[in-house]
């Protein structure tokens, strides 16, 4: 699909801050609110904007349990469908947060979230590694998230400028 420069710019803006209203977007883009609404709707309808989400730092919440694992998966590709079939069998599990086909020494990068190490271990041994076509798995647990999707979790982003300057 071909987008205009304006449509692309609106997509970029919303990717950074999905909470901007059409009214605010319209002002930023020098468009009417109607025009802006139509563009946003088009982006949504065409699944260019797939979903609006919040970036949450769960570690801020007391008592929060949860672990994230990045799993390297080697796979035997199947005739006709390649990796798609195995990828689908993996991403259908709700604990799987992302699945990417990778270049390099393994094939699929799978991100899994669970309540505990045990829960993830159970998923890997009982579900992931038993899928037909999966040759091997290497599981890495995330110890701390410093930066995610371009955002530093605990950045000191205070405005360090003096309040008035010429």
């Amino acid at each position: 699909m071909k987008l205009t420069a304006t449509e692309i710019e609106i997509t970029e803006i919303l990717e950074k801050d999905a909470r901007l209203t059409n009214d605010e977007l319209a002002k930023m883009m020098n468009l009417s609110v109607d025009q802006t609404g139509q563009i946003v709707k088009k982006l949504e309808d065409e699944n260019v904007i797939v979903r609006y989400v919040s970036l949450v730092d769960w570690t801020k919440i007391d008592g929060h349990q949860g672990v994230t694992a990045m799993i390297d998966v080697k796979v035997t590709p199947k005739r006709d469908v390649g990796f798609n079939d195995v990828a689908e069998r993996i991403y259908r599990h709700k604990e799987v947060k992302s699945v990417y086909l990778m270049s390099g020494t393994y094939d699929l990068s799978v991100q899994v979230e669970g309540q505990s190490v045990n829960e993830v271990a159970h998923f890997v041994t009982q579900k992931l590694s038993t899928i037909d076509g999966v040759i091997s798995t290497t599981t890495h647990f995330v110890l701390k998230k410093f930066k995610h999707d371009g955002t530093v979790y605990d950045s000191d982003d205070r405005d360090k400028r003096i309040v008035v300057s010429p």
Binding site: K27, M28, M29, N30, V163, V164, S165
Partner: protein
């Protein structure tokens, strides 16, 4: 013998302090203040630029550079000015790296002015121009750009202000505080005045990269003007490097030699680590610049519409990151407006008269502030204006 009442020199004692300082003091201790009063980018210097400075320290580049700045940096400046503004300067004899554009303006004025020489200063403008002319022994002659001309000074106004003592015209376009930018045609008309009377143009082009609709033209690129232009610029605004204090000045060889004498006696050279950072910025800073420019453009559009909607008529600035709305409809002068806005809604704007008498009736709102802060500031200002 009479006892001295002050050790200060007369011309310093009588120099008016910057009107901006007052507002800075007024905000002290206040909480939840949103400032649209800041004349610098809200971005932090791009990491690769900061890293270049760190690496230069690790590598032990802690000594002086050549007075005019590292030749490598001057070469990069020459290439940049040539690539983007189509003016070629000889890095060895026509470019000086300075401690910010402010120093560049200072040494330029000191190099060209004899006592009593006049400089046409177009106001509203950056607070330092007229005082620096005075400190250099010259006489600032104020020429006001008018609201009805979108704050673009007319060549006839300049023509009318020329005397046989006039030495130079000082212009900043895109302008702080109005954001207004001269078109190429308007610059040509001003250049004709300069040519007719053999005047220098001291062109502060610090906002050249922050232009949102049209292409930028440098005064030095106007036909036949290179020999009569002192081009001042720097890294502060486009690469978000205000605190590094790094600027440069491009000028004909003779003037450069003169400026360099002052620079070498007063300054020696610009900070070495800043020069290393600036070099990295010139070489690999285009993407960051473009991203910042895009963000400023979106915010400009947003703030201009918002101010107009709330009844503070606002010219749509072509460049820099300032809007200069008229507050005349409120019946207040700019200082009262700014003071009350600060006290009642905790939003800082700068009274227009801080930039010259012709700025009265306006306030400067900087949009070098995050969108979320801008949104909140506009909400508060609307509330303030509505209850008047």
């Amino acid at each position: 013998m009479a006892i001295k009442t002050s050790y200060l020199a007369n011309h310093v004692r009588t120099l008016k302090p910057s009107g901006i300082r007052k507002f800075f003091d007024a905000t002290a201790g206040m909480k939840d203040v949103i400032s649209l009063g800041v004349g610098e980018p809200d971005f932090v210097t791009p990491w690769n630029v900061r890293e270049a400075a760190i690496l230069s320290l690790e590598d032990g580049y802690t000594s002086y550079t050549a007075n005019a700045g590292m030749l490598e940096l001057r070469e990069a400046i020459a290439k940049y000015v040539d690539d983007y503004y189509c003016v070629s300067y000889d890095p060895e004899h026509e470019i000086t790296v300075t401690v910010g554009a402010s120093e560049a303006i200072d040494i330029a004025l000191r190099a060209i002015l004899d006592p009593g020489d006049e400089v046409l200063v177009v106001e509203p403008c950056f607070v330092s121009y007229a005082p620096l002319v005075t400190l250099a022994g010259g006489v600032p002659v104020i020429v006001e750009s008018k609201k009805e001309n979108d704050f673009k000074v007319q060549s006839e106004q300049l023509e009318a202000a020329v005397t046989d003592r006039t030495k130079a015209i000082m212009i900043c376009s895109p302008n702080n505080p109005t954001g207004s930018m001269l078109s190429k045609r308007e610059m040509e008309q001003i250049a004709n005045v300069a040519k007719r009377h053999d005047l220098l143009i001291l062109s502060d082009e610090i906002y050249a990269e922050l232009v949102y609709d049209d292409l930028y033209t440098s005064f030095a690129a106007i036909d036949g003007m290179k020999d009569q232009t002192i081009l001042v610029s720097g890294f502060s605004k486009d690469l978000a490097m205000t605190g590094w204090r790094l600027g440069y000045v491009c000028a004909p060889r003779e003037i450069t030699q003169g400026m360099l004498k002052i620079h070498q006696y007063a300054i020696m050279c610009a900070s070495t680590m800043a020069q290393h950072a600036g070099l990295e910025g010139l070489r690999h800073g285009r993407t960051d610049m473009a991203e910042m420019r895009k963000s400023y453009r979106q915010r400009r559009n947003y703030i201009v519409q918002s101010l107009n909607e709330m009844g503070l008529p606002c010219y749509k600035p072509e460049g820099a990151f300032y809007t200069f709305p008229s507050i005349e409809a409120t019946g207040m002068n700019s200082e009262t407006f700014a003071t009350r806005l600060l006290q009642e809604e905790r939003v800082v704007v700068v009274p227009g008269n801080a930039f010259g008498d012709s700025g009265e009736g306006h306030v400067r709102c900087s949009y070098a502030t995050s969108m979320s802060q801008l949104q909140e500031a506009m909400k508060r200002m609307r509330r303030f204006v509505e209850k008047l």
